[in-house]
Each structure stands twice: as C-alpha cells, then as structure tokens.
Symmetry: C2
Subunit: 222 residues, 2 copies
DNA sequence: CCAAAAGTGTTGGGGATACACCCATGA
DNA sequence: TCATGGGTGTATCCCCAACACTTTTGG
C-alpha cells in the first residue's frame, strides 16, 4: 500500500474564473488555446496542480501568473469531473472564482496560450471544454454571494463612491436598485467606512468610502 | 502533449459525509480504518475515482457500496487538497454529502475497512485525516441548505407527520421552533402534500404528508 | 376521564419597498 | 445659471415572531 501504485488516476487541474467590470459590463479573463482539439477556442485560464502545492495555492499561482495579482478575493467554486470533459485526457478541474480590479492587472501571456484578454460575459460565445458551464456557475455564485458579503472589496479601487458601488451591484445583479434603500442597506451592514471626498467634479463632491475589511465578511443585506 | 505524460499528479478520491437521524440526534456514517497511519481511527467512507466514472458517479458508487442506497440526496460539498492531508500520498478529496433514512440502510463492510457504523455527530472524537474539517463543513452546509430546500425528503420515510418533520429541523438546527409558525412556513412553501392519516395512536390522529418532489427544490423558508 | 400529541388565529413590531425633492460644484 | 450627479426622509405594507388554548384519540 505504501509503495507507488500503478493504478491510473485522473489528472488534477485548477481553472480560474476571474471577473472584473469594464465599461459597465462584467468581463471574464479568457485565454486562447494553442494546442489540442480546442486550439483557437477561448477558455478560462487553468493548469495542473503540482505535487507540492495545495489546491488553493495552485489557484493563487494561476491568478498570479496571469494577472500579477495577489491578495484578491479567490474562492473555490466547484469541481468538474465528467469523464469526457477533455477529449485528450481524464482531467478533473477544481474551479475557482476571483474578483479583480482590471486597472491593477497587467495581462501576461505564457507559452501555453496564444492570447489572453478580457471578454464581456455576454458574448464570449462557445468556450472550450465545459468552460461555459463553469463560467455560468461562477456567475450564479457571484450573484448570490454579493448579497451577504463584502467581496467587492476586491473589484473596486481602494476608495470609491457609493454610486460606484451601487453601479457594480446593478451590473452584477442585472437590475436597477433604489438609491436611498441601497445606501441604507450598505450603511447598516457596517461593511464600509468613510475615506474622504472627491474633488474637481462638475457637480457636488461625493464622499469616498472604503471597505472596512479586505477579507471576506458575511452579513445579511439584500 | 497527447502522449502519456510522466508528470506526477495527485490522486483523486471522493469522500462521502452521510447523515441520518437516529434517536433524536444527527449521526454520520463512519468506517474504521484498517491500514496506514490512521489504522484504528474512524473516518468517512471514501475511495479513489476511477478513470471511467465522473466524480458524481464515484460518489454514488461509494454511497451504494456502503449503504445499498440509490436516489438519495447527494451533493458535492467541497474539494480538500492540502499537501499533507494524507501522510502517505498526495490525495485530493472531493467531498460529497448525503442524507439518508437509516432504516433503509443495510451497512456493509468492504475489505478495506474493519468496521462501519453510525456515530452521533457530537462525540465522534478525532477523526482520521482532515475528516473533522470535512464533517464540520458538511454540517454547516446542511444547516443552511434546509432553510431553502426540500432535501429532507431523503432523510424521512415516504410519509411523515408535521411533528416528525419539525423534529428533524430542530435537531439539525439545534434549536426549538414554534409549532404554529413552522407549519405556516412549511405549508406556504408548497413543498409537501397530504398523504393520509395516522391510526392507532393514543392521541389525536395526525395527518401524514409527503414531499411533492423527490429531487432538490429551492424555495425561501426560514 | 385522563394523558398525550395534534392542530389552530391573532397581534405587534421591524424591516423592506416605494417614492420626490434639495444640494454643491464646475463650467 | 445651468447641468450634473450627490445626497436625504417618510409612509406603507408585509412578513415574521411571539403567544395559549381546544381537539381527538386510546387506554
């Protein structure tokens, strides 16, 4: 039992669904695949899990390699394991999802991919493997999660106005929110604190806020 | 790329946290481990994922082998992948959790385990590997999930009284519920339907109910 | 007639929703 | 002074929680 076993085993990979907001739309980071049956297709970035790293570490490494970012919101989503999800080999994908501020990202293509870029969530077309399913599920989880957490700390700049925050919520939830009620909820959640005011706008200056914590916090909100 | 690769890869296993209620307490199905550094310890049942089965299929197979049951509530929980979680080998565990009616279960020990039995959730003591963490997380998810789903269809007999259902909720949530409010919520959820009455009790007969669906359904309740 | 569990209605409070107007600034 | 977005208060409704007594049966 303790010797090396010869039983074949599936390969383990992590895939990362990385969301950001660009021009009032949710975007996902996608890579163009160079080799194999899906060459030319777009898919979410991913890679094999090494023997000396945990799943979380593998996901962090993937995120760092592709975006240069650390310390962003990154959470395990689900593990996808259909037998035929990759026609070439038996691969189990442990999917993660992350939120980033795209202004902080310097995209870097590695040898494995032909290209890497942000694509609006609506209009990615058919993705490689089962990646449409993975992205859809990530979106579902995201929509739920923002109702009771502060995870947008990872998507917005350090300081932001309440209107900006509300816009992100509206984009993600795909519906308009009442400004007054939104403010009441956010304030009563205690998730944010004041952080100055804007200047130089052609209208009344707005207060700036920042999240009290840069780690996930759970509350009830919506 | 398409040839067999020689890169070492973690082994993939599924572990199943199987809950039931016995004598007003939540119990978990545990197996006594025969070999290795945790020999003699108890842990949740699990096994390697085969090359020709999906993760879900592996979990179903595990459940069937240990309990003889099919078609019960079984859902993927989380994947655990710390490097040192098994001192002998690098093993990724995709954990599932299930709810069963223990009266329908015929426990069967397979060669791999010395013993298998139900143990009350409080008082399992220290389990093998990271199985305490896995069981704790499964319980957390269970407590949440019953607030907005019908998954107890899998734990109760086909027909049950509202008092029985309420008892299961109280045991799981570890708190008393108001009988009148409980009934209102359950009825308004539309999850159950009438299914006869009890007879031969030394008190007023109660109506019997059954779940409208034997597949997971989502509603808002608690 | 007694024990045991089943079953049922009403009230009050708090949180959510809906809604419209004034404010401060730069140009 | 005007255009632009920032910022605020209140009335209503509905849902939830709290609460106690009557009903039906077997023994």
């Amino acid at each position: 039992m303790s010797k090396k076993e010869e039983i074949e085993s599936p390969v383990v990979a992590v895939d990362a669904v990385i969301f950001t907001v660009i021009e009032n739309r949710l975007n996902v980071l996608l890579t163009k695949i160079k080799y194999g049956p899906y060459a030319g297709s777009w898919g979410v970035p991913g890679g094999r899990v090494r023997m000396d790293e945990s799943l979380d570490e593998a996901a962090k490494r993937e995120l760092l390699e592709k975006t240069g970012l650390k310390n962003v919101y990154l959470e395990q989503l689900y593990s996808f394991g259909r037998v035929d999800r990759d026609p070439r080999a038996r691969i189990i994908s442990v999917a993660y999802f992350a939120l980033v501020d795209h202004n902080k990202v310097k995209l870097r293509t590695t040898g494995k991919y032909e290209d890497i870029k942000w694509l609006p969530l609506k209009g990615t077309g058919k993705l490689a493997y089962d990646h449409n399913e993975i992205v859809d599920y990530a979106l579902f989880r995201l929509k739920n999660k923002i109702k009771y957490t502060n995870i947008f700390y990872s998507l917005l700049p350090e300081k932001f106005t309440l209107s900006e925050l509300q816009r992100i919520y509206e984009i993600t939830l795909e519906k308009k929110l009442d400004k007054r009620n939104f403010r009441k909820k956010i304030f009563s959640s205690g998730l944010i604190k004041e952080a100055g005011v804007t200047v130089g706008m052609p209208h009344r200056p707005s207060k700036l806020y920042s999240f009290r914590n840069r780690k996930p916090v759970f509350v009830e909100m919506f």
